[in-house]
């Protein structure tokens, strides 16, 4: 079926070429990082994880959110999602690959990566993160590909596929839970040390993920013959609304327990992020996050703006961006500031770090483009 990705118009090849250029630039900077070390990044002794691990966290959420299409369709037989499920699964595939690549580019000794497999360490959450991410990747590749193959041949998907699909539902929850456990299980990192972290990760993901998927599908709709059923859009935006509201509610819970108790270590990171205590680099981003979150929630809650294509699109872009500031940026950086000595050392990505990040995302987009191209071609053949 892959050969279908080799047929396209000028715009398609232009897009592929753009992605390849971005990948090439990112790879060039990665070679520099490999030779000179992670010193070329903005990371330091105090903020030892940054943009890369932030992107890992955000994209795990995007990958997990495919379950918001899979679950209604396969467990509740919700037909409106029928044509879209495959796009959710393929988004998950490319998102997980992006996650794994971000782990690799963050390593100081990437050629020793297989030590994680050679010396399996069940007490390390990172070991389990590797297990669940790879498992989820294979589940979605197998499910997506097999379903598409069945569509191509005009037969019903094999019955064994059902089992994998049912397994993939709790598995989606597990990838974001385990990713949250990376942070939530560390003593003395008060911003992360929170039993709600996994739950708030999931709600944030179930808003930002479907929002990103809908935006991508709107673009796909413009450049292909895909038709997003109106009912599917309406249901997805409702899911996004609820998930987003719960996500922001959980953030307020965190702020309450920090400030009402007046627990200094719990307040310290919020003071830094929103109050600029010890450094103001993150403050504009955080207040942008507040603005985007509140406005998007209002636009999503009011039915007329939620169903109006223009205001809905604005709201979705806002949710995706606010979710990114929350998880892709402030979560990881905030956890390290202040440091264990109560000293504020700031971090900001460097140019190599930025282009490596863009390059990794371009790899994800390339895989996504190819998979979507195949899926669209098969669906078109099936319809005619």
């Amino acid at each position: 079926m892959l050969e279908k990705a080799l047929q396209g118009n000028k715009a398609y090849w232009g897009w592929i070429f753009t992605l390849l250029v971005a990948i090439g630039i990112g790879f060039g900077f990665y070679v520099v990082q490999l030779q000179q070390g992670l010193g070329v990044t903005g990371l330091n002794r105090d903020v030892s994880w940054g943009l890369y691990i932030g992107q890992l966290t955000y994209m795990v959420g995007i990958a997990a959110s495919a379950v918001m299409l899979v679950l209604p369709y396969y467990l509740h037989n919700y037909k409106a999602f029928g044509k879209l499920v495959i796009f959710g699964e393929f988004l998950a595939v490319s998102a997980v690959i992006v996650c794994l690549l971000f782990v690799v580019v963050d390593l100081g000794q990437p050629q020793r990566l297989m030590n994680v497999v050679l010396h399996p360490t069940p007490n390390s959450v990172l070991f389990w993160d590797m297990v669940v991410l790879n498992g989820y990747l294979f589940l979605n590749i197998i499910i997506g590909w097999a379903v598409l193959h069945a569509v191509k041949k005009g037969v019903r998907p094999a019955s064994w596929l059902k089992i994998l699909i049912y397994v993939s539902i709790p598995w989606a929850v597990s990838i974001h839970t385990v990713t949250a456990f990376l942070y939530a299980g560390l003593p003395g990192r008060y911003f992360w040390h929170d039993s709600l972290l996994a739950a708030s990760f999931l709600t944030g993901a179930f808003a930002a993920g479907p929002a990103l998927l809908l935006l991508i599908l709107m673009i796909v709709q413009k450049v292909s013959d895909l038709k997003i059923p109106k009912e599917a859009t309406q249901t997805l935006t409702k899911i996004i609304t609820y998930a987003w509201a719960i996500n922001l509610f959980m953030l307020l819970l965190k702020i309450f327990s920090a400030y009402y108790s007046q627990y200094p270590a719990k307040m310290a990171t919020f003071d830094y992020l929103f109050g600029g205590v010890g450094g103001e680099q993150m403050m504009p981003w955080m207040w942008n996050f507040v603005f985007l979150s509140v406005v998007s929630l209002v636009l999503l809650v009011i039915p007329s703006t939620r169903n109006n294509p223009i205001t809905m699109t604005i709201a979705l872009v806002m949710v995706v961006f606010a979710g990114w500031i929350d998880k892709g940026l402030s979560l990881v950086i905030g956890g390290f500031i202040p440091n264990p000595f109560k000293v504020h050392t700031e971090y900001w990505p460097t140019i190599p770090e930025f282009f490596i990040t863009v390059g990794v995302y371009a790899v994800g987009l390339l895989i996504l483009t190819i998979l979507y191209k195949v899926a669209l071609a098969v669906q078109r053949e099936n319809a005619s």
């Binding site: 992670l38 390593l107 000794q109 020793r112 030590n115 360490t121 990172l126």
Partner: protein
Amino acid sequence: MAINRRTFLKAAGLTTLAGVAGHAAMELLTPGALEAARPESVGRFPEELTAKRWAMLIDTEKFTTAQTFQRCIDACHVLHNVPHIPGDKEIKWLWTDSFKHVFPDQQHDLIPEAIKNQPFLALCNHCDNPPCVRVCPTKATFKRDDGIVMMDMHRCIGCRYCMAGCPYGARSFNFWDPRPFIANIDPYYPTRMIGVVEKCTFCEDRLARGQIPACVEVSEGAMLFGDLDNQDSEVRRVLRERFSLRRKPSLGTKPHVFYLI
């Protein structure tokens, strides 16, 4: 008795399964026990210093001059080829910081000026319950039977999870190649490569050759090192007589560096 092909394959399959499952089960139930079950006698010096539980005492009253601190830090950093990298990507095994930074939970505005202005040594605490060991995905950092938290620089993949896990900021990462930043390379201790994490090792290399840690040796009695498990050891006697602090005891990591106040 003749074994046919089918029986042989069955037996071979079962044996393999038992081997793999057994190893996995051992790892799960008693992490690290298999790895630790090595011959005791491999390559040991007869003069090796041993203990059931190593611990360090820092007598803050005896650290009165800047020279005393510098002597200890230099001894450590020179001996272990610790590079001197300026800026926020620095490497340090042993260093000083103020009371309010080393003991942030004990800090208040009215503590004596002398303590406020006095530097305190900071280093790896060789915890009994070390979060860095718990989170390491490759067992590159591990706890020895004598309590020393060790690093295997050849296994470390540089994921820096241990740095996020350590609540004492004791770990440094080689963001750059460290070798150009070492003034005089000591050939008796390995230099590190780019992209691995390092920290104080309680001078396990010196203990193996019958010497106490370098900082303790040059401290002129301001630091003590000994077996906490031995009732009659000097460290136990001093801890009975003097009031001591440990860093962040509420985190449950059980540090084994004690500060005599």
